[in-house]
Symmetry: C2
Subunit: 340 residues, 2 copies
Amino acid sequence: MRGTILHAPGDVRIEDRPDPAITAPTDAVIRVAASCVCGSDLWPYRGIEPVTEPTPMGHEYVGVVEAVGGDVRRIRPGQFVIGSFFASDNTCDICRAGYQSSCVHREYVGAGGAQAELLRVPLADGTLVATPEAPDEDLIPGLLTASDVLGTGWFGAVAADVRPGKTVAVVGDGAVGLLAVLAAKQLGADRIIAMSRHADRQKLALEYGATDIVTERGDDGVARIKDLTGGLGAHSVVEAVGTQESMLQAIRSTRPGGHVGYVGVAHGVTLPGEELFYSHVHLHGGPAPVRRFLPELIDLVTSRSIDPGKVFDLTLPLDQVAEGYTAMDERRAIKTLLRP
Amino acid sequence: MRGTILHAPGDVRIEDRPDPAITAPTDAVIRVAASCVCGSDLWPYRGIEPVTEPTPMGHEYVGVVEAVGGDVRRIRPGQFVIGSFFASDNTCDICRAGYQSSCVHREYVGAGGAQAELLRVPLADGTLVATPEAPDEDLIPGLLTASDVLGTGWFGAVAADVRPGKTVAVVGDGAVGLLAVLAAKQLGADRIIAMSRHADRQKLALEYGATDIVTERGDDGVARIKDLTGGLGAHSVVEAVGTQESMLQAIRSTRPGGHVGYVGVAHGVTLPGEELFYSHVHLHGGPAPVRRFLPELIDLVTSRSIDPGKVFDLTLPLDQVAEGYTAMDERRAIKTLLRP
């Protein structure tokens, strides 16, 4: 099959690779209908995370089941399925509490590389959710977002305790931040402040339900949020970047007793304990337990209640994956969809 | 009046000081019936917090109202009252959300020094809660705990989302930790693991409802909590110390999706962002909004449903305040009650 390998920062290639096989009786192999490039793929691409060996890339996927192992009961060949970047048994205490991305048996699905024609998915029964029928072609981008960025933005909003009547701020205008705006709208937020300085992203944020745009960052951004909230800060703030600056911006934009939901993969972040103590915020986040939200998100997409697929502003054939990375790295694209 | 002044680390004295006066029309002045020494008083006493000038000490108090300012409506001279270490208006948005210790008008009541005969309490109507009648003498220690350590332990348990069916661990066996055990029991926890290596404190923890005692600390303590919880960690962990070691012990003892309630005043704590991200815990805490809990806690004490006053294992006349500090510093006493 054809699959994507990152050899070194900036050096991502499509290559011939061996087809993945069923290696455990709980596995499935799927034929990828669509995959995409994640903001987190840019960390190693930019050399901020080390690349120690040639690494298969991609952890977002939708596709059709090709084969299943002997112990797979619920998932069947031919089904159109969506899964998360972490495989989970969906039966352990941690999964049942809704934290499938910390499942005691979790495996990183991306290890095999989803930016490819075929993908092995461990723990298929626990990990994959099938659509009721083969989806219309135009729904595929939206369903693909449920695999990560939509589920992650949604978790950010849930972790930030977004509810009707609340004022929500979103730090980060990548696909996750934009879909956190969409999630906040769906969860009934009264007011949604998107922090963005890019016209195209501001436009999509407004389409997704943002009521205010703040272009300032850092201390100025915090001051602006305070201005907009009677000096108190937002009730709920979603952090969707993962840097020290964005975490502090999120914490400082939240009122005492408010909630920060942080879903940007933390890189080089250290939180000052005393400031956090006196901030009185709730802090929750981490790798989104996408599996918790998949049934609901699939419903919302297939019923055309939401259109999260708009975050893909570049669609390329898998063979042009390198251009997909470059466009995102240079901020020419919000998010690249890849069709094998 | 007589009041306590800290002059330098280890040098705490009782002195003649001017009587406090009503300085704002929302003030009250109370005659202190009982005060005490807090674990947090030991930070400057031990020189871990700098002592830059002679500092009035004490922020926990119960007493009888002597005088009120012209704008005070609810509180009247002669009432027996309990308040928190932070004065709050109890009407702003932050107070109404239950975060009175971050009230937009908050003032530190301890600034005047509660280890004294008289104390000025700002924002009397918002800050003080009167008992229905003058309490029996033997209830005074319990009511005094509501002013801080009981309210703080209670907030720790609430912040850690303690509920029926849950397994709770408490890091720290000072008065706050012990009263977090009591709070967890009241809030219906299934199993309560107290982390303590002192026989007298273990005994009180068991009296207050602890089901297990863990004497190990640090990584060994974490391993022991994991052993006791099927490898997963506790659902809820209360942190009641405030050091780097105890915060990490609390976070690492909590299962993914679980809750850490941290109420130990943070000193030199920096939290590693990546570890926190992947831990999947909820983190909440800070200076306890004691005022939120006062009506309920006063009821529980006056109805003799709980006996939090047992944390006072040393009672001294105010004149012997220095011995009260020394006994706690040397861990000869859990907590010292002072009677003016």
